[in-house]
Symmetry: C2
Subunit: 308 residues, 2 copies
Amino acid sequence: MSFELSLNTGTTPNLSLQEAVEAVAGAGLGHIGPWRHLLEQAGGEEKAAEIISAAGLKATTLCRGGFLTGSDPEARRAAIESNRAAIRETAAIGAGELIMVVGGLPAAAHVIGGEGDRQDKDIVAARQRVAEGIAELAPYAAEHNVRLVLEPLHPMYTADRAVLSTLGEALDLAAPYPAETVGVVVDTFHVWWDPQLKQQIERAGRENRIASYQICDFNLPIAADALKSRGMMGDGYVDFPTISRWVAEAGYTGPVEVEIFNVEINNQDASLTVETMKSRYAELVLPALEEGAAKAQNPAGERISFGI
Amino acid sequence: MSFELSLNTGTTPNLSLQEAVEAVAGAGLGHIGPWRHLLEQAGGEEKAAEIISAAGLKATTLCRGGFLTGSDPEARRAAIESNRAAIRETAAIGAGELIMVVGGLPAAAHVIGGEGDRQDKDIVAARQRVAEGIAELAPYAAEHNVRLVLEPLHPMYTADRAVLSTLGEALDLAAPYPAETVGVVVDTFHVWWDPQLKQQIERAGRENRIASYQICDFNLPIAADALKSRGMMGDGYVDFPTISRWVAEAGYTGPVEVEIFNVEINNQDASLTVETMKSRYAELVLPALEEGAAKAQNPAGERISFGI
């Protein structure tokens, strides 16, 4: 099996882990990507692991570690400890992949409720601190057989959430480490616009760094809470068949996770959300993934068309 | 003289050309970058040229040409004709530099009031049509001694306004043409987040392509009308001293244009806006430009510090 559809629980934020697991299993899916707070609410990572496996599901990723841009030594120490806990939790639920949102500028930390130096707008230095944080965490991740999965975020979030803004930059940051220890996630919302996208997906494949393929659409207008501008596949401006084909041609065959922050979708009935994501996936994403996979396995041959 | 401060009339959208010229001259500045509709309101480009020169001012750029991504043949022909008119207007007001916003996806054209194919999300093809449009316009621009100035826009506008999203991509697009015919603009709002920014500014300088340096800040939260998220220098998250130093080190010595779309700033008294931009420029931008220029002239020497 390959290209298993997975529900990231950010798509169903009103559900407990137990409820999300039931929605996934009830729709006949086998994979889930939980957020950390759901593990805590469930009584810890061991209990969470039981809930996931009791339903016959497999965890694909854990969201999220990161936030390594702070310059205050005490805050940095706390961030490293939090990431170490996240690495242990990832191992405990058997996901293997810890998504890393690296953090924004200290000047903008207050925007998402954190603390930082409101005058510190030095993005070059912030990126250097991210690299130092990854260096500190990579050995610990390797010990736990967990991969740190660097997530480039859309540049509309560079200031407040992630100074890591392109797939190319993520691959540069991952380069010093073994591919099984530091990887990248291709999230369509964040990277669809990038003129280097095709080349960098190819590179990510060559370097065995694609740890996750996350899908959702880019909607306009940008939502009042910009984080919630994500949309159901097909509702926005992302060319899913093209990007999905590139990802599969690069050799990725793993799960495909749907992560949508969107006020309407987040508050509708979860079974409707899961059914819609299944049908849009079948229509817009899976045929192109299968086409790309066929080409990856048979690069010299004619392109084989699956479906339409 | 170098680094002359210029007012882009997008910053003072309630003023006529005559009023904007008076605000600029009244503040002791010598440069203005008008938008095309102000020329039309003033009675045409010849009349506009008289208004600008009568006040002793010089036009730095004309905003804007572009919108070359449409796939409908009739719409494309109309876009080319509109760009030819913009080239003639640029020559008439003596600006020499026509800012080009290349256009978004056909699928998103309706977002900014245009028409297009709502199913056409093929960004690769849209970018190809931009390249074809530039090829068609470049000889006409050269005949009129006008430079087409490619403007990479922030990726939050890739869908609806410009599929040209990075300085590197703009330089690739400009590469087939002489530097005096196709250049690029470095607009801090659009490019501040780019991990390749330093290298691409250096490259733009080596290739003699920097046609304009536009400044304004990146504010959060993103405004309800995302286009109006621009801020006065110092109010947001852009590291102006660093980027300004890079631009000057790359050899740019031309005007520095302030273009701010922001509901509050756009509706306040224009004299307050111009005075504020003068003081923020003197504080955050000019010292770094002068430092960079000194280094550009004396690359082997010690860095000379101008002001603080």
